[in-house]
Amino acid sequence: MTETNNSGYDDLLAAIEEGTGYYVECENGHAAFPPRRICQECGSRQLAERLLPETGTVITYTIVSVATPRFQDDTPYVLSIVDFGPIRLTGQLRGITPDEVDTGLEVSSFIEEPEATDDPLVVFRPP
């Protein structure tokens, strides 16, 4: 992949890797991930960084058997959306067999890599 930086997003992934993941929140409590200049819910432009909670719960997941070329060496993998309270994040669930995955599972976020590349990948693992 190229070295092009996606400001906001790359910074967030670096922070998650350091254990200091964050999101932005407006004064009315609406949360979003960067890059963001205006609250989608209320139009506020007063956005402040808040720490991403250490753990969240799996609200939905799928076991992907047919992948895009980037993830063909990873199949089957578990893709999930995790609810961290104020905000939700999408990533791959590792450290648990697909049979054992269920909604409600408590996980923490990490940055790992797909099999075939060294691109950063959002990963969730049971704490």
Binding site: N6, Y9, A32, F33, Q40, I59, T60, Y61, T62, I63, V64, S65, V66, A67, T68, P69, R70, F71, Q72, D74, Y77, L79, S80, I81, I87, R88, L89, T90, G91, Q92, P98, T103, P114, D119, P120, L121, V122
Partner: protein, 388 residues
């Protein structure tokens, strides 16, 4: 506002045409629509063309003038890209000029060429309708996205893979006499359940096929129809479009599709109708779960109630509300950029009595077409009525 009348409607067979360019597919559909309308290409004032992945499939940008040229039109032309809702969105734009009295004759359509690519490349191309940063880089595919929505729906409202199997079985049955359909074969619920998994809980038979195809409509004003003595008993009386967050993670619920509801409310208001007035519907069933999500978003069912509609027989050709008499995306096929106009083509023919399934709804006078893009981050709804 002036009424917008459908003077001509046409589509290619949806399916595998791996050697045919999209310009050739669109020429077949566009010229078919002009012939159906008995309108000269010289009268077309503007061309709207829906397409999603032409850059990836054919290395082709700047498709508006290319497609106008393909149908012998020298007029302003533009391409509309809204993922799988590309031609639904193109249609909503195309209506505006006639409604506001600025245009009399407009050609609108769409096309997609997909089967010239390997499955992995098509999976990659379709995935870019999702959020590149927060979804694709995490391993999202379109089947995966709908699988995430399926599990969320089951958790919220209940439902089973078997319920979804009945949607696939129904739409395959509907497609049997449709010569433009990709799959004209009956399947069973057991076959759906036993098919290989693509993204659990969705299997191969929960998914629409990969298709090539094109579709087109000739739209005219009342004045033009009268002056040229055209047969235009079908009018588009309402149009609506809605948006939602592009990424699933940004939405408060994955068990409802807000863009569909927003589009439906706008379209119903324009047409001065309610969901109870709908006789027949073509909805965007790219995956089996998408059909109940659409029926609920459209207000045709309460949330949580449409999952069993096909199983109960309510949405079959013999039911009270036949849905996807064409076979839907599931069996008719889904050449992405052609799908939205293909739905309207189907409804126009169902309502004017010239569709092979028209005889199952002889009293139908009002139909709606629901086209969705991505994970329904875009949706359009169009209301068609028999007006003479």
């Amino acid at each position: 506002m002036t009424a917008v009348r459908i003077a001509g409607a046409s589509e290619t067979r949806f399916g595998e045409h791996p050697g045919r360019t999209s310009r050739d597919l669109f020429a077949e559909a566009g010229l078919g629509a002009l012939d159906d309308a008995e309108v000269s290409s010289n009268d077309i004032e503007v061309v709207y063309y829906g397409n999603f992945m032409g850059e990836l499939a054919e290395h082709q940008g700047h498709q508006g003038p290319l497609m106008a040229d393909a149908v012998g039109v020298n007029a302003p032309a533009l391409r509309v890209e809204s993922a799988c809702a590309s031609s639904g969105v193109a249609l909503r734009q195309a209506l505006e000029g006639i409604r506001h009295g600025k245009r009399d004759v407009v050609l609108v359509g769409g096309a997609e060429r997909m089967t010239n690519m390997e499955t992995a490349a098509v999976t990659d191309a379709l995935a870019i309708a999702a959020d590149d940063l927060y979804e694709i880089r995490a391993g999202m595919t379109f089947p995966a996205a709908y699988a995430l929505m399926t599990r969320a729906y089951f958790e919220t409202y209940g439902g089973t893979r078997e319920d979804l199997g009945y949607v696939a079985v129904k739409n395959h049955e509907h497609a049997l006499p449709n010569k433009n359909a990709q799959h004209r074969s009956e399947i069973t619920v057991d076959e759906v359940l036993e098919a290989p998994m693509i993204a659990d809980p969705l299997g191969l038979y929960d998914a629409c096929p990969i298709s090539d195809g094109a579709s087109a409509l000739v739209l005219v004003s009342d004045d033009y129809a009268s002056a040229n003595d055209l047969d235009t008993k079908i009018a588009i009386t309402g149009a609506g479009q809605g948006s939602d967050r592009l990424s699933l993670q940004g939405r408060p619920t994955l068990a409802q599709t807000r863009a569909t509801t927003r589009a439906a409310e706008a379209a119903y208001k324009e047409a001065n109708i309610g969901p109870d007035d709908v006789d027949v519907a073509e909805v965007h069933d790219c995956f089996t779960i998408a059909e109940p999500l659409a029926l609920e978003g459209l207000g045709l069912y309460e949330f949580g109630e449409a999952i069993g509609a096909a199983r109960r027989g309510e949405t079959t050709l013999h039911g009270d509300l036949p849905v996807n008499l064409s076979g839907g995306l599931k069996a008719k096929g889904h050449p992405v950029g052609a799908t939205g106009i293909g739905q309207v083509t189907t409804l126009a023919k169902v309502l004017n009595g010239s569709h092979p399934r028209s005889d199952t709804v002889p009293d139908a006078t009002l139909g709606i077409a629901h086209n969705a893009g991505g994970t329904v981050a875009s949706a359009t709804v169009h209301v068609l009525e028999v007006t003479q």
